[in-house]
Point group: C2
Chain length 141, copies 2
Amino acid sequence: MGMESVAAETSFADPNAAEEAFYRAFRDGDIETMRAVWSTTADVVCVHPAHTALTGYAEVMASWESILATTEGFDIRFLCRHEIGEGALVVHVGVEEITSADGNRVTVPATNAYRRTPDGWQLFLHHASPVQVEAEAGPLH
Amino acid sequence: MGMESVAAETSFADPNAAEEAFYRAFRDGDIETMRAVWSTTADVVCVHPAHTALTGYAEVMASWESILATTEGFDIRFLCRHEIGEGALVVHVGVEEITSADGNRVTVPATNAYRRTPDGWQLFLHHASPVQVEAEAGPLH
């Protein structure tokens, strides 16, 4: 199709579009799309599994640069189980299905929250947990 | 005064009041207050550290009955680092400081989300993660 490059998607019409782009960027190691998905404000929060919370666009993006540079050959899909929305704010709770290059699959509970801005819907909270045991298998807290 | 018992608080004027009651119920093993804090709907979600998500009021309350019956002598406080709100929906992201009976302290990232109902503000999402490593100490995802 000629010399034109395909521009990264930078604006998302609804939370689902932003979520799709987030996980696609994660799978594909696409830092440009990852940058576009997140709100650029100081109040964004990202909790990677088994880690303390990272806050602010710069700190969160530094973590994604590190992650996207070192992970490959895996698949990740988000199954949204619950959507709770109110005006310009939507919270998704569900599980990430992660399949490693050698075919092992794990599921990870995750909460993603989006808000509507003049530039479209943006992610401002990603909270992913490690899963070590099933719900009935151990102490709950 | 006299013979009247102190009625459990069952309605909360703002998200902070609901959050205060949630952690007080947790500390004190007070299942009645815990029941009052949560939205009674089918779409509530609770992710205990290292567990898969529990959904629906009945399932979530069963988990709290189990937890409150077996934990004691500890302290738990929530430090809200970020509040993102929109109309009748408010998301709090922060850390729980948990001090065990023998004085060990751990911090746990947590997301709590509240909505305003005709019966006051109610908790509908609690997502708490285990922390195993510091942010810079290992692979992030």
